[in-house]
């Protein structure tokens, strides 16, 4: 019994350590994203953030989501961003991500907001304790996603269509006379 307790303790402290490690890399990455002066470096730190996020998701028993996170963000979004940066940023890359003067107000503002939410969150009484998330989430997720959430799912499908047409429309070459090719 005692051993079991110890085992649980062990598990708990492991969980705690994992959390703090992931949280640390997440926040460091995030801070680098917003402070680095080189846009490419910012995008690279963003990848760190996304991987740490995936780790947190695994810690929260959301393995499918972690996979999606890695695939979509680290794989798709970041590459898209890098391409974007390359396309528009032709000048010196080292000074590509400057900070404007608003940070003087923005910093205390965001600090206050963090303190406020953090304090409230830290003090909140939680009604329920953690439940057991079923293993193998993808098996459970698939039917729910495609059956119960079919309307949001279809909405996303249409959303993608709209966005795709929008993107194509916007990046189409424009001839000199102002008419599209």
């Amino acid at each position: 019994m005692k051993q079991l307790q110890g085992c649980a303790d062990m598990e708990n402290s492991l969980e705690l350590i994992a959390f703090f490690l992931l949280a640390g890399s997440l926040l460091t990455g995030a801070l680098m994203v917003v402070t680095l002066k080189n846009l490419v470096n910012s995008v690279l730190s963003l990848i760190v953030v996304f991987f740490s996020l995936a780790g947190i998701f695994i810690l929260l028993n959301a393995d499918f989501l972690a996979a999606v996170q890695v695939l979509v963000y680290a794989g798709g979004v970041c590459i898209m961003l890098v391409f974007g940066v390359m396309l528009v940023q032709r000048k010196d890359m080292r000074e590509s991500n400057p900070v404007n003067r608003r940070f003087l107000i923005a910093a205390p503002l965001t600090g206050a907001l963090f303190l406020l939410i953090g304090l409230v969150a830290a003090k909140s009484p939680w009604v329920k304790e953690a439940g057991e998330v079923p293993e193998n989430t993808i098996e459970h997720l698939a039917p729910i996603l495609l059956r119960d959430y079919v309307i949001p799912f279809e909405a996303v499908a249409i959303l993608l269509t709209v966005a795709l047409t929008g993107v194509l429309l916007l990046v189409k070459e424009v001839k000199d006379n102002g008419r599209s090719s």
């Binding site: 409230v120 959430y149 309307i151 249409i158 269509t161 047409t165 929008g166 429309l169 599209s180």
Partner: protein, 478 residues
């Protein structure tokens, strides 16, 4: 969990229509044949509107409460479809001459409406969020539609980033509410709060919800995007943005705040009252200084958002009724005004108020419609806006008398800047006296909006009664 498809008639047919327009646009080769797309969408929308009206009594919920169909949703479905039809009808001229990609334009407009309709019917946060995003993304695309125009692109960029930020805030709020109340279903939240699931995070979440929705309805101080985006967007899109997006967000605001947080009413009504007051103040006062008519109408629409919020302050059936009534009449006044603006732009290439000089001689119908629409927005009896304001403000006379006074004073103030435009139109001599020929469909739209504004002002009872029934049913169904 079976899906009751009969409840989804509007949604399914709208999606099919949007995709058909899309496909037709791809198949039809010639530019000229693309011009028929507008007519095609119009016919389709009229059929869908008829279907929606016909299925008025068809109520229920499907997918385990995730998707609702009640009188409330039907009312707003009809509202948004009416708005879309009027916008498409009124903007055919403008689209033919200013916009080249018809298939994307019409299909995106239809999908934006689909997003609104999903929002009305959402029974949970997930569906709600996706409807909202579908609408917002569609509007972003539409705003930047005139991609050869730097202003249009700038407006699109501003809308994208600010809407993205506000969506993030809204989502954060939704996630906190989800955590604090333990569910994403609006009805269950109400139940859980009543049972004492209470967490301080709920308060933070609520504040963020107000901010997120406040952005969408362009209530001060979350309104800053509106004038810029309204000015930069193609005028028909502005009209639809001002009407549809706002009405949809009000519907959701009612659904969420009365559906889930009625229990906590005393905490949020005061804040909403302040937002309403601030919106009226900022909207009306800043409108004074505008020289561009679209910006002026944008500030006026911020003020209108303030008036409508008053109905939410009351948080009872009279208040809901007021919101619904006002949203509906606002459709006609706004689309009437913006149709005039787009027709004038189409002919003169300018949105400056100064260029409206002598419009009464050049296009009497347009001048009269603009006059009536603006007087209705100012709340001059016997126009619809007066009745609407009356229904709204009467609900808070008891508890928020100061709000009523403020509203009345600012309504009077607003008459001044509306009349400035009127003076320019009716008194000043036109620089170019040539008659300004309106398109036939635009004239039809103008006549329709004019008739509706006058009719609903003189004889508001049928619509008021309808709104009343819906409001009672809505509150009973909570």
């Amino acid at each position: 969990m079976n899906i009751d498809f009969s409840l989804l008639i509007t949604e399914i047919s709208l999606a099919i229509l949007g995709l058909t327009v899309f496909t037709l646009g791809l198949i039809l080769p010639a530019k000229s044949s693309q011009k028929g797309l507008g007519t095609f969408s119009l016919c389709g929308l009229l059929v869908i509107l008829a279907l929606t009206i016909a299925s008025w009594g068809n109520q229920g919920e499907t997918l385990g409460g995730m998707y609702l169909a009640d009188y409330f949703t039907s009312f707003f479905k009809i509202l948004s479809l009416t708005a879309l039809i009027l916008v498409i009808l009124g903007s055919k001229n403008y689209v033919n001459s200013q916009i080249e990609n018809h298939l994307e334009y019409y299909s995106t407009l239809i999908f934006a409406t689909l997003g609104m309709i999903i929002m009305f019917s959402a029974g949970d946060f997930i569906t709600l969020y996706l409807g909202l995003e579908l609408m917002t993304i569609s509007f972003i695309v539409l705003t930047s539609f005139r991609r050869t125009n730097g202003k249009s692109l700038e407006a699109g960029m501003k809308y994208l980033l600010l809407a993205g930020l506000s969506s993030a805030v809204l989502l954060y709020g939704l996630s906190l509410v989800y955590g604090a109340a333990g569910t994403v279903f609006i009805k269950e939240i109400a139940g859980n709060i009543a049972q004492g699931y209470f967490n301080p995070l709920l308060i933070v979440g609520l504040a963020m919800l107000i901010a997120g929705f406040g952005f969408k309805i362009s209530a001060a101080p979350f309104h800053m995007w509106a004038p810029d985006v309204y000015e930069g967007a193609p005028t028909p899109v502005t009209a639809f943005l001002a009407v549809g997006s706002k009405a949809a967000s009000f519907a959701v605001l009612i659904r969420v705040f009365l559906g889930a947080f009625l229990e906590m009413q005393e905490q949020w009504t005061m804040l909403i009252a302040f937002l309403a007051a601030l919106s009226m103040l900022i909207g009306n006062l800043t409108a004074f200084a505008q020289t561009n008519i679209k910006r002026m109408l944008a500030f006026s629409s911020i003020a209108q958002a303030g008036y409508i919020l008053v109905g939410l302050v009351a948080a009872n059936e009279a208040g809901i009724k007021g919101v619904m009534f006002y949203s509906f009449i606002y459709v006609f006044a706004t689309i009437g005004a913006f149709t005039v603006v787009s027709e004038v732009y189409n002919k003169t290439g300018s949105d400056d108020i100064a260029d409206y000089a002598g419009l009464s001689q050049r296009a009497p119908l347009a001048a009269v419609v603009l006059l009536i629409s603006m007087l209705s927005m100012a709340g001059i009896p016997p126009l619809a806006g007066f009745t609407g304001k009356y229904y709204l403000f009467i609900t808070v006379v008891q508890d928020y008398l100061w709000l009523v006074y403020l509203g009345l004073i600012l309504s009077m103030v607003s008459v001044y800047y509306y009349l400035r435009v009127v003076l320019v139109m009716f008194r000043d001599e036109p620089a170019d006296p040539a008659p300004l020929k309106l398109g036939s469909t635009a004239s039809l739209t103008l006549w329709l909006t004019l008739a509706a504004t006058l009719f609903l002002g003189i004889y508001p009872w049928p619509l008021a009664k309808l709104a009343n029934t819906v409001a009672i049913a809505f509150l009973a169904g909570l």
